[in-house]
Symmetry: C2
Subunit: 185 residues, 2 copies
């Protein structure tokens, strides 16, 4: 009887440890990649975002103000990713959870390529850079912060540089969900 | 001594079971989503591809043949995804493994949207459809097959419809990797 108890206890303990490992691997909330910052308050470049949920691409979106010259050329491609856990939360609740990172890659726009004999259209050519929108009330008074990485870290932009436009023109929760088809609920 | 042996054996067995669960959840090869077909040989629509690795977007790529009228307008957006396991294999070996599925979503191209005051550029609007390229030597004499879903299933296209162009113009292994920046090795 005592032997069985010990065996049972150990099996339960092993099983419990196993359960924790499995649910972590399956991507539960507590495993969500969260924004990290250095001592100066700069954000560290997020790892692994190319395995997150891709929410949409845009090409050359522009908001020319009165008196500004219109840009020439097609502009650049933007690819936007969000953590899978933040995506699930958004689809359920209609807002993004704290610690959401929307990672945006920018690519040069290609139109000609030797092997493909293209006569029209655009593809994503050289990688240009990585930006991010971060929902982090502990860091940003307005909840959302915006950064562009110059290497391993990025300093948050001043509020007027990104936040004001996102607040005015983003369809939901300061995000331009109107451009990302799988976020249209 | 005997008690310890039993305990040890059970702990090891529990741990072994645990290890299998964890590595499956982490996405090892044996867990890769593979193409499925119905009795008529039509491919079943793959599930969950929006959680796969996004490899790139294109807008309105065209290959106009002599005498054909040039299309007007920007054309449609294409978003391409591949199973994470096939992506890892490709990055290591330079070819796609058997049972690779490249899932391609097509979207209408939007240029105006009431909240955003756009003055230029393109975004992904209404979902138009899902196509796929499948590497499956058991099914396709030329290794790769091509389908467009009309609902839950899709009949493979005749060879001349897709394969010939992919073979001639795809940079690597019949795939247009030249348009997908994260597949450029």
């Amino acid at each position: 009887m005592q032997i069985h108890s010990i065996v049972l206890l150990l099996a339960v303990l092993a099983g419990a440890g196993c359960g924790i490992e499995v649910s972590k691997a399956a991507g539960e909330r507590e495993d969500m990649t969260t924004p990290e910052y250095d001592a100066a308050g700069d954000m560290l470049r997020p790892e692994g975002y190319r395995r997150w949920v891709f929410v949409g691409a845009t090409l050359g979106l522009r908001y020319t103000k009165d008196g500004e010259a219109e840009d020439e050329g097609p502009g650049s491609f933007h690819n936007v990713y969000v953590q899978p856990e933040a995506y699930d939360y958004f689809m359920e609740h209609g807002v993004f959870p704290e610690k959401t990172i929307l990672a945006m890659e920018t690519y040069e726009t290609g139109t000609r390529e030797p092997k493909s004999e293209l006569t029209g259209g655009f593809f994503e050519d050289a990688f240009l850079g990585l930006s991010a929108a971060i929902k982090d009330s502990e860091r940003f008074e307005e909840k959302w912060g915006y950064v562009t990485f110059k290497g391993a870290t990025a300093s948050p932009f001043p509020k007027a540089r990104c936040f004001d436009c996102h607040e005015e023109h983003g369809a939901v929760d300061n995000v331009f969900t109107q451009f990302y088809p799988i976020l249209k609920r």
